[in-house]
């Protein structure tokens, strides 16, 4: 019981923790939730949960690693709440979605030639704003998978676990996100 690693609440100064770790936690959260106020809430809740459960800190990892793992779970909870589509009928969902883009298995939407120099394109503020707006337009439930996939280094299996969905559900969500994002960019930037 009296291992060096186990700390009691009295040994901890919350202020010190906040000074030492809030930046790192915020940097972790923001790309994954995309909104400053939500990232801030996540960081705050992480500190609270950690300080209240300090006994469960095993001392096997650093405090920071431990905090980040708590934060990761908070982010997963946040996304799970917005996740109403279950694994059932995932094939039907895909089929229905595809019908907006294909006619008898051929493309029915316009795909123009995005002749662009990526570096030049990405340095244009207006373009990046369009991308941002298009990302915002994605339904939250499917966008969460895409954002987590693209904004974190977590692998697919972990994302499925975090979102509590099957792998085929994840693939369908990623497909829908990319298709919708493409369509939005086509309409709002690339076609004249």
């Amino acid at each position: 019981m009296t291992q060096l690693s186990s700390k009691s609440t009295q040994d901890i100064d919350p202020n010190e923790w906040i000074d030492a770790h809030s930046d790192v936690l915020y940097k972790y959260a923001l790309p994954r939730v995309q909104q400053r106020d939500i990232a801030e809430d996540m960081v705050q809740e992480t500190f609270l949960a950690a300080l209240k459960n300090i006994d469960s800190f095993s001392g096997k990892s650093t405090i920071q690693t431990w905090l980040i793992s708590i934060l990761r779970h908070k982010i997963a909870d946040y996304y799970r709440k917005s996740n109403r589509e279950t694994d059932e009928n995932i094939d039907d969902i895909l089929e229905d979605f595809q019908s907006h883009f294909f006619n008898k298995k051929k493309w029915k939407v316009k795909l123009s030639d995005w002749r662009a120099n990526p570096e030049e394109l990405f340095s244009q503020k207006e373009f990046m704003l369009v991308v941002k707006a298009c990302l915002k337009k994605l339904p939250r439930a499917i966008a969460s998978a895409f954002i987590l996939k693209e904004m974190s280094d977590v692998d697919s299996k972990e994302i499925c676990k975090d979102l509590d969905i099957s792998e085929s559900n994840l693939w369908v969500r990623l497909h829908r996100s990319r298709m919708s994002l493409r369509q939005c960019l086509e309409e709002n930037w690339f076609s004249d």
Binding site: P14, N15, I18, D19, S22, D23, Y26, K27, A29, L30, P31, Q34, R36, A39, E40, V43, Q44, F47, L48, L51, K52, L94, Q98, F101, F102, K105, K106, W107, L111, S112, D113, W114, A116, P118, L121, F122, M128, V131, K132, K149, E150, M151, S156, W171, L174, H175, R178, M179, L181, R182, L185, E186
Partner: protein, 88 residues
């Protein structure tokens, strides 16, 4: 036999699914072959593939921008501190 069948029967609708999947994980050999062949003969899918690659790149730019910009302000930090301390 089934590989050749796949190559001959793959259509844009299913090719699009394979092309998005390919962004995240390696495809099976037969899917890869069928897709390679389809993309060779299909202009819209060729464009789609390039567009997906651009989207992948723009997302990584986004990621690095957000990470760089993810600077907690003093005001935010104090807000966090106040909430944490009040709820402990």
């Amino acid at each position: 036999m089934s590989n050749i069948f796949k190559i001959l029967t793959l259509k844009c609708k299913d090719a699009s699914v394979l092309l998005t999947r390919m962004q995240d994980e390696p495809l099976s050999k037969s899917d890869r072959l069928a897709l390679k062949f389809h993309v060779m003969i299909c202009k819209p899918c060729r464009r789609f593939k390039k567009q997906l690659e651009l989207i992948k790149r723009v997302m990584s730019v986004f990621k690095s921008n957000l990470t760089k910009l993810a600077q907690l302000t003093d005001k935010q930090r104090e807000r966090i501190r106040k909430k944490v301390l009040s709820k402990l």
